[in-house]
């Protein structure tokens, strides 16, 4: 899948993603082709009663491409993993859904996004959510850990998708549910680094 990519290509992609999300960690405003923040959450039909409980600073940091929670119910008491959690809005919402007997963990490779997620979490006062600065291709969790894995607009950015999906499969419990919102290519993605940095999925 990535055999036409050199080490140099992969490094450039990773550096480009790190630079973009270093900026997004501050604010997603104007950095995406689609609505972000409260507007994005409303259009994607997120649960309004949960969104209304979140401080504005948390809501404004949302930049997802879809609503993974529309794909299935998350039960009270469940353990949820958010792969590529960014500013952690989905992770925090998952924590609210699972309640005090459940937990939600967000992982992201960009340290600035994890810092934003942690500051978002702090102002919500929610205690069953945590974040880790980890690459999705190499998760630190034991096999069969999570009931649900969510991911929003991230896997398309990762060159080694097979490694990510294998890791997600490993950490899901048997019978566990993967719910993903992501970008997929409509036509052949241009074979140049600039286009891939903007978005590539192949």
């Amino acid at each position: 899948m990535q055999n036409d990519m050199t080490r140099d290509d992969l490094d450039k992609i990773e550096a480009g993603i790190r630079q973009k999300y270093f900026e997004v960690a501050n604010t997603p405003d104007g950095k995406f082709q689609y609505p972000t923040g409260r507007k994005g959450l409303e259009i994607l039909n997120y649960d309004k009663t949960l969104i209304d409980k979140l401080p504005n600073a948390v809501v404004s940091s949302y930049c997802g491409v879809g609503n993974p929670f529309s794909l299935g119910k998350i039960n009270a008491g469940a353990k949820v993993l958010d792969v590529g959690c960014g500013a952690g809005v989905d992770t925090i919402l998952a924590g609210m859904m699972v309640g005090p007997n459940g937990s939600a963990v967000g992982v992201d490779m960009v340290p600035e996004m994890i810092a934003r997620a942690e500051s978002n979490l702090k102002i919500t006062g929610i205690v069953n959510v945590s974040f880790q600065n980890t690459a999705a291709e190499n998760l630190s969790f034991p096999d069969d850990t999570f009931d649900v894995v969510i991911s929003n607009g991230v896997i398309n950015l990762i060159p080694d998708k097979e490694a990510v999906l294998a890791e997600i499969h490993r950490v899901l419990k048997p019978g566990g549910h993967l719910m993903v919102a992501d970008q997929i290519a409509v036509s052949n993605v241009q074979k140049d680094i600039k286009a891939r940095l903007a978005n590539w999925f192949q």
């Binding site: 082709q33 689609y34 529309s70 719910m179 997929i184 409509v186």
Partner: protein, 90 residues
Amino acid sequence: MDFLAMLKKAGFSDTQMVAETGFNSSPKTKGTLFRAFKAARAVEKNGKAGGDFLSKFQEFFDETYAQGALDRKTKHLIALGASLAAGCEA
């Protein structure tokens, strides 16, 4: 390889592309919702042979009931009808 094929290769079952979200990052990509399950296969832990056999069976099962000209629900209903007509009450 598309995303559904990658999910199957990673071992997921019941893989499904559910809907487009309308949130597109570029003119060449579209926001899309996917879901998949890790098969619940308790027997697999009893031994490799059993696991291999079951995963082959699961592949056959997934392929049989995959969305095609007929949707998944219709295929399941046809199978149910055929089972009942054959006198299978299990």
